[in-house]
Amino acid sequence: MARIIVITSGKGGVGKTTTAAAFSMGLALRGHKTAVIDFDVGLRNLDLIMGCERRVVYDFVNVINGEANLNQALIRDKRCDQLYVLPASQTRDKDALTKEGVGAVIEELSKTFDFVVCDSPAGIEHGAMMAMYYADDAIVVTNPEVSSVRDSDRMLGILSSKSQRAETNAEPIREFLLLTRYSPERVAHGEMLSVEDVQEILSMDLLGVVPESQAVLNASNAGTPVVLDKISPAGQAYGDMVARYLGEDVPHRFLAVEKKGFFSRLLKRG
């Protein structure tokens, strides 16, 4: 049985797809057979971030409609053979994802995969509801910014009332907070909500804090999940977050302003 994880946020542009790509790659690199599904029907982008956009033949909706089988649609990652991508369809039919169809695909994936990561579209429309419906765990991607925090809280309400687990009175979805685009400098200047502030408002378990980093744009430019960039703070933060999800006790990093060394300060002045 696979564990089903939804990457959600409510608000757009906070880093859901970046997170879905990095998180699923991170799980796969640790030897777990992982499938990542793009639920953003009509606006597929996960394939681009994963760098497999030219290998898309069949998609999620083709599988639901029986036009292709799952093995034909799944794209095996070229960097890690434990990772498979199921791309979204570019159809404009918003109702192409049926609850039964999605359930059947997830159930089939569950038989052979360890983890199924569902990359949710923004908003609370049909696609987002389908992405979270079958989830066991939810990673709520949040920016330290008022509208993102508010939308995350709304998403928590939806997770606890509209999911399969909620409807069948099963054990509730485990909810984890992932704070992205964090800038310790701006927090130190009192210009940005701190990790503690956001945690206090949302009262959720903190899975990770990803600092604002140029590495994220570089990674998406190249179609490489940022977790593969082991030098950048963002890549390392995603690596830590995967370890924490798998139950390892990893201390949080990149939360404080980086202290400039004597030499770098000297060089800057010069």
Binding site: E145, V149, R150, D153, V187, H189, G190, L193, D197
Partner: protein, 89 residues
């Protein structure tokens, strides 16, 4: 520390503090709204209809407040009746 602050001058409150305060109020309000039973709005309308059969009151004359504690739920219905002069003849 106080002396240091004095020399730095009075720093204005960071915008993050304002953000946190606004969010705390907003999120508390959203959550309260979320936990309200769905029938509340319909009930409020029905109560208003009954009252308006006897007294001319505004749409906002009836406020329904729902609160949930650990062990009990409280439903508070508040009806503002008009001044005697405005009453129907």
């Amino acid at each position: 520390m106080g002396l240091l602050d004095y020399f730095r001058g009075q720093r204005p409150k960071g915008s993050a503090t304002v953000a946190k305060e606004r969010l705390q109020i907003l999120v508390a309000h959203d959550r309260a709204e979320r936990n309200r039973p769905t029938y509340l709005l319909n009930m409020q309308r029905d109560i208003l209809d009954v009252i308006r059969k006897y007294v001319a009151v505004d749409m906002d004359a009836v406020s329904v407040n729902y609160e949930q504690d650990d062990d009990r739920e409280t439903l508070e219905v508040n009806i503002v009746l008009p001044e005697p002069a405005e009453e129907r003849a």
